[in-house]
Amino acid sequence: MIKVEQLSYHYGDRSVLDQFSYRFSPSNFYGIIGPNGAGKSTLLQLLAGVRAPLSGIVLLDDVPLRQIPRKQLARRIAVLQQGGLPALGFTVREVVEMGRFPYQGWLGGDLDNRKGIVEEALYLTGLTKLADRSLEQLSGGERQRVALAKVFVQQPDILLLDEPTTYLDIGYQQMIMEFVQQWQQNQQLLVIAVLHDLNAAALYCDELLALSNGSLLAAGSAVEVLTSPNVAELYDANTLIITHPEQAVPQLLLQPNKDNTNRYFAGDHKQNT
């Protein structure tokens, strides 16, 4: 459905994507992992069409993405960003309604006549009671739920997530990930999620892509990608990988380095000697 060919991008002389090619097939949940600066967010912006590739091409059903009008594209692809929405004076319902923008004519009428979908989204995300509160009265987690309801009313068939659970407590993290998973399974969405939390990536994604220095290090199931050597290469981190007792997916535990005392403070400042 989304095909990426020979994609390259750089900021100044710092290359963030280098000849990246991949084919994302429909109704699959992809997770993109990798260290800070590996080009994950840039890739997502290229996939969303808000950034033009410096070379290479992104194809949506074999049509170059950048040739599709913005509004038409917004009916196919929705993006949930990290950090959610700014604290504004708009009410929750008003913001969720903004998700219908791609379906509205110049005068604001809904061309698809699906007014009920706003209430449905509020109900599904548990926001019905908060619907008339303004955004500035909500917590960060509640605002991210509003953002989720907003992409839901956009009715996309492709959903891009850019670290959607950053800054949220584990309750909200779980809520957001499970909502997306169920939505994905119910409506056969293509989901591509940039994730920092490798354990969540292993639990919720069908397929993982590990990006390192702008190119693909590994791709496949969580079992194939989340191996100790891969994690060490990606993050320069020492980890112990175990299998989730009930879900049969790999989960990471940090493994403290034995010679830790000398790793950063070797030299004159010997600690606790």
Binding site: K71, L88, M98, F101
Partner: protein
């Protein structure tokens, strides 16, 4: 809307010529096309005061106020910056530099009545582009930097205007008059000049009001929702600069209207631009007529500079509302 008519009614009725309210309205009634004119009952001077001076002045005030408030609400929306207005962004100063230059050189009539608005638009547009380029850093614009850039450019251009004032001898008053801001001594021609700007801009801005709402969520968020961000921003900046230039070329630099009116409305009706845009036009008109009426009457028969009055009335109201709001919500809120 009702308030606008009441304000126009009161403003028309009051004046320094000592005519009664009844006389004023009687003249206006008789001057309507289907009546045979007021010349039989009133002197030519009285008729002129009402139809030539007072009526055109009130309407002009309404149009200037509407233009400035619309420009203010547009700039604030597009730049997502509560402090943006034609004045703080330097656009008004940019436009007045152009206007002052034209007056200094004596080219006012090169393209007829449209010369000054046209030149004011060009220099205003150059100014806003300059301010935005100055404030832009690696593709993102910080609110503080933008206002800082605006203030810098504004004072830079202000000194240019002062320079031109001191260079000219005979036309000093005419340029100074621009700086002070006034809608006195204007004619119906100026009313006709401003009408198309307001009539064209208002519906376009109302069509863009939903886009302004989306932009409030952030430019990238708006793009994800299907907004053509760069094009929308460009269109809005063009329109707002045009409105500013038109207003400045007629009335000079009048501060505070573009900043205060949208904020007062925001405190009253909330952040929805679908309401803010049309209400700003009406509110700006009301505010300006009130201010001008005060300017006419306080030192009657002498006129106060209008810019002085708008700031004198505007600042305290604004402060009061801000304090009240902060008390209610229990903390400092971003506008």
């Amino acid at each position: 809307m009702l308030l606008l008519f009441v304000t126009i009614f009161v403003a028309l009725s009051l004046g320094s010529s000592g005519m009664s309210m009844v006389d004023v309205w009687h003249i206006l009634w008789l001057s309507l096309p289907f009546n045979d004119g007021a010349s039989t009952m009133y002197s030519a001077g009285e008729i002129a005061i009402v139809t030539q001076i007072r009526l055109s002045r009130v309407l002009l005030g309404a149009l200037v106020g509407a233009s400035l408030a619309l420009a203010g609400v547009g700039f604030q929306g597009v730049l997502r910056n509560p402090l943006a207005d034609p004045y703080t962004l330097g656009v008004a100063s940019g436009s007045s530099v152009g206007a002052a230059f034209i007056i200094l050189m004596g080219y006012q009539m090169l393209l007829g009545l449209w010369t000054i608005p046209f030149v004011a638009f060009v220099t205003g547009m150059i100014t806003i582009i300059g301010v935005i380029m100055l404030a832009r850093h690696k593709g993102s614009m910080q609110i503080q930097t933008l206002v800082l850039a605006g203030v810098i450019i504004q004072s830079f251009l202000g000194s240019f205007v002062s320079l031109m004032v001191s260079l000219s001898d005979g036309v000093v008053n005419e340029i100074l008059f621009w700086i002070m801001g006034s809608i006195a001594m204007k004619s119906w021609e100026h009313v006709y000049l401003l009408i198309p700007f307001v009539v064209v801009s208002l519906p376009i801005m109302m069509m863009y009001s939903r886009i302004l709402n989306l932009l409030a969520l952030g430019e990238r968020e708006a793009a994800y929702l299907g907004v053509q961000v760069e094009r929308s921003k460009f269109v809005m900046l063009m329109i707002c600069t045009l409105l500013t230039a038109a207003a400045v070329s007629v009335s000079g630099v009048i501060g505070f209207v573009g900043l205060v009116v949208p904020h007062l409305l925001r405190l009253m009706v909330g952040p929805d631009y679908r309401l803010l845009v049309p209400l700003s036009a009406i509110g700006g008109a009301i505010y300006m007529i009130m201010a001008d009426t005060v300017a006419r009457l306080v030192l009657s028969p002498k006129d106060l500079p209008l810019g002085v009055v708008t700031a004198l009335i505007g600042a305290p109201i604004f402060t009061y509302l801000l304090v009240k709001r902060n008390k209610k919500e229990g903390g400092v809120q971003s506008l």
